[in-house]
Structure formats: C-alpha cells, structure tokens
Amino acid sequence: MSTHAVGIDFRSNAKKALGDASLRASMRHAAETFASKRTGAFASVPVEDWRDRASEIRLNVLDNLPDYLDRFTAAATRAGAVVHRAKDAAAARETVAYLLKDRRVDKVVKSKSMVTEEIHLNDHLEMRGIEVVETDLGEYIIQIAGEAPSHIIVPAIHKNRRQVGKVFSEKLGVEYTDDPVVLTSIARKILRKEFLSAQAGISGANFAVAESGSLVLFTNEGNGRMVTTLPPLHIAVLSIEKIIPKLSDLAALVRLLPRSATGQTLTSYLSIITGTRRPHERTGSKELHIVLVDNGRSQILAGECRDMLKCIRCSACLNVCPVYRTVGGHAYGSTYPGPMGIILTTLLDGMNRAHPLLDATTLCGACNQVCPVKVPLVRLLRILREQRVEAGFTSPWERTAMAAFGFAAKSPTLFTAGQRLWKTFLPVLGIMERSGTVGRLPKPAGKTFRRRMS
C-alpha cells in the first residue's frame, strides 16, 4: 500500500485549530468546566464498583448481540413498533427517506443523534426535498451556521456566545445579543412552533432494551420528549450496539452516563418509550419505526477491536484528552472526535482514510481512567497503530526504527549503545528523511534515566 494514501489531514487541521485563539479559549474553558463537574459528580460514590458492573453489562451485550437484537425486534414489534434492519448508511438513509416520502412528510423535527450524523441523514433528506429542523439548541446553532458538531454531547462547544449571537442575528434576522438566556428564548419560540406543526419526529436513542423493546433517551432540554411524543410518526435511528438486556440493567448505566457526560446525577429528562400509543391513551406517537443501523458494526464485533462497541457515547474521554482539549473536534475531520472517535473512525472508515488520526493521541491513558464502561481505549489505539505499521501507512524509516528498537530493547548493552547512537544521529536523520517521521519524534534527554539513577 502506498504511504501517500489520501487520509484525513489531521496535521494541517490541528495547525489551523492551534492558530485560532477564540477556539482555544472556548476549549480551555470547556476542559476546565467539564473536569470540575465530573470530579464533583463522582466525589462520594462507589465509582469503581459501578464501572465494573456497567462494563459487565456491556460485555454481555457484545457476547450475545445477534440474539439480543432478535429479542429486541420481537418485543418492540409486540409493542406496536416496526423494526427495520439497515446494513449500511445508504440503506438506513433510504429507509428513513422512504417512510417520510410515503407519508408525504415534507418537514421533520429532529433531536440530537450522532448515528444520523454518521450516516449523513440530514443531507440526504434535504436532497429528497424534506426539510429537517434540528431542535437541540446546540444542534440548532450549528445547523443554521451550516457547520458540523465538534463534540458528541455539546455540538457547538467550539463557539463562544458572541459567535452564537452573530449567527442568530445573521440567519434568523433577530437583533444581536450575546446573552445566552435571550438566545435560548429566541430558539424556544421558533422551535415550539415547529414541534406543534411537525408531521414526523426523528430521534436517536441512548439504549434499546432487548427484553421489553423499549427505547431510552436522556435529554436536558425537553426537545427529545417533544420529538418522540408530539408528531404522529416517530422514527428512531440507532446503531445496533445500543442494546442492553433488561430494563433493570438501566439503573447501572443511568448512574454513570449523565455523571460522566455533564456531571449531573441525572439529566432533566429520561424517557423510556415502549411501542406506540395504546387504544386508551391520549398521547404518544401513532406510528413508531425503529431503524437499527449496522454500518460496519458486525464486522467490528468479529475483530480485535470489538470492545469499542461497549462505548455509551458519554464524551468523558474527549473531555480529558490533551489532544482534543487543545485542537477541538473539527480537526479530526470525522463524525466522532477524541480518543473514541479516532478508534471508531478507523474501524468504520478504514485505515486508508483514518490513518493520520492515529497520531492524534499521546497514549497518556487519561481516557482509560474515566471511561464509565471501561473501554480499553489505549489498548485499542495501540492495536490500530500496529495495524497501521503493518499496512504500510508509516514510512519505511519508521518501520525499520521500530524493528531495531524491538531488537535492541531486549539487551541492556545494545539498548545503551542504541541510546548513544540515537542522540548522535537523530539530527542527521532529520535532514536525510523528509516525510516528517523523524521530526515528530521526541528529542532525546540530555542524561538518560539509567545514568541519573546510577
């Protein structure tokens, strides 16, 4: 394979991000806020026991996913939903577009869903003449700004209040203000009308319960509740690994997800939706379609990195990642940023496109420490880095150097000799080798650790 395969240009994206002072200020503020909130939320609870329990639940799901999916489908169908299985992004998009077109829907309200970003649902629906209105405040901001989310929970985290104020005044024709309270009330008024007139709602789901066929949604604003209960048609789009076995398993995850995401004990709303409106009921959707998106998951499940599918998308690993905190989400050029994003993007999009992202980590392990379901992020990053070397995406120099290191590290004498050689020849290598590999390496220490200790 060529070493010049076309990939995400993380390096130049990151450089651009580093030069953007207002982005860096927003990210710094976000990092501090998230860190203190998360610490507070876990201060006096048995977090390690909770993580063990949650990890167990998620592993059990991965061990039995096909079976749980069948059970979920059967239970949801019994409750009045129609379940669709989409093997890839195109099938998922087409299923949603067909459902809407068939019912002559020309406008839908939508609550935040990362998998719909992954499959580029909005663009596809707009192309088919269906207007999509994002109703989560953060999503609404970036939708009217014509941008993509830069965080999986707080999509407009890269924008400060003045930038949001400017977008609102330019795109909505309202008087400029940078007061978050006023901006929020402007969005509330506009979106309330949309909720009440929408013919259909599209949502994601945080979990899907195999035993009962229920969908579980965590939201703070209330838009998720509107989208899933006001319009007569509700379409839920979720990826297949969102399954959990039983409703009672939810307790363990409810304790961890909001705390890890925003530092809250619980989000303002937690909705558990089981099927459609029953005969004696006055509210709830009349028609519920659930689109289970595979889009590469079955393949990931069969591979070495299957533990990535334990992820519950809490964003804690983004918030503690020194790389994410510095460059923000857009630099990754992918739907999912941060440590989980690097791994998922590589698995979903392939090494060819994602290989430069594997440099966007210091392997410091901060992500491992916070992950509520114990996704072994560092181990997965290492596996993918090895695969990158094997697939020839790194320069021959780097491969030879790695092989030499592996050999020398086994013998103390060779290792010490190697350290001396390295110090002497690194500057020379840098001149000879132009792909940038050498330039990326850390400078050798003046005195080695062994010499200082002896």
């Binding site: 503020h29 976000a30 806020t33 998230f34 109703t135 405040l137 953060g138 901001i141 707080v154 999509p155 407009a156 985290i157 924008k159 400060n160 209040r161 978050p180 309270v181 901006l183 929020t184 969005a187 509330r188 979106l191 309330r192 909720f195 009440l196 009962s212 229920s214 703070n220 604003e221 209330g222 838009n223 509740r225 509107m226 209960t229 006001l230 409703l247 009672s248 939810l250 307790a251 409810v254 304790r255 925003t262 809250q264 004990t265 619980l266 303002s268 709303y269 937690l270 909705s271 558990i272 939706i273 089981t274 099927g275 459609t276 029953r278 004696h280 009921e281 006055r282 509210t283 709830g284």
Partner: protein, 165 residues
C-alpha cells in the same frame, strides 16, 4: 417505601436538581402551599382525576383543560425516586404525557407511598410490558449549549415545584 429517610432523601435530591420542594401532611396545608406556588397569574391545567388532584383548589377563572395553552400544569405524578430526586410520570391510565412538558411551570403532587428508594426498586416494580411512556423528570428543562453556561427553561418547564403530601 414511605420511611422518613426515603422521603427526605428524595426532597434533598430534588432540591439539588433545582426543583422547589414542599412537604405537607394534610389537604389544607397542601392548598396553602399551592396558593403560594400558583401565584396570581396564568392558566392552570389540572386533570382532576386522582383524589389528590380533586382536592386541589384552583381559582375557577384560571382553570383550563387545554394543556397546550396552559402556563401551569398541576398533577399527581406516578411516583418518585429518592436516589436521583426524580419525578416519575407515565402514560398509565391514559395520562397525557406532554401535559407537564408544554406549560412553563410543572407542579407535581407526590404521595410518599410512591417514592422508591433506588432506581432498581422502580424498575423492579414497573411491570411487563412497561407503560408506553415513562419519563423521569429531574428538575427544570435546561441547557448548557452556549459556552456551557447553565440556562434554565429551554423547551420544557422552567419551574418545577414538588409537593409531597
């Protein structure tokens, strides 16, 4: 599920989530608290289905049965969870699940017998199949989407009042 400790834990956690909480022991005290909570303005929706709801005094000129146009929703909720300070609302018995979402102020009556100590306690009791819609409500509607600045009252109620009686 009505021990004092569970009730207090619920009240404490609900207050931590920015709900306004009141504990009363009889109907008169409930209506006394209600008078303060309802204030003098805005149309009030109340389903008047349960005993507690029927006992609520709402000034007749402010009463409405149209929750789409109400400013306040007063209702008895299905129950509550002490661990999280959450109200539990369900579609059981044909309850309108948006009645407490559209108005800007939600006033919930909670019977102490229906307060579950933990999440597990509720999930074990919620039946199979569960009701079409179960919603846990923990404080008012909120967002932090602009500069992570907490803003109360986005699409749902900006005020949540809880009366345990």
């Amino acid at each position: 599920m009505k021990d004092k400790e569970t009730v207090e834990r619920f009240l404490r956690n609900a207050a931590n989530a920015a709900a306004h909480t009141v504990l009363v022991f009889d109907v008169d005290a409930m209506n006394e608290a209600m008078k303060d909570i309802l204030g003098t303005e805005g149309a009030v929706y109340c389903p008047r289905e349960t005993e507690r709801e029927k006992a609520v005094i709402v000034p007749e000129e402010r009463f409405t049965d149209d929750y789409f146009n109400a400013s306040i929703c007063v209702e008895e909720v299905f129950g509550a969870i002490a661990e999280t300070g959450s109200l539990i609302c369900t579609s059981t018995g044909g309850r309108a699940v948006q009645a407490n979402l559209l108005p800007s102020h939600h006033v919930a009556l909670v019977s102490p017998e229906h307060i579950y100590p933990t999440l597990e306690d509720f999930f074990a009791a919620c039946g199979d199949p569960p009701p079409t819609n179960i919603t846990f409500i923990t404080g008012p509607s909120r967002t932090a989407d602009i500069e992570l600045t907490l803003t109360i009252g986005v699409h749902g109620p900006e005020r949540v009042s809880v009366i345990v009686c």
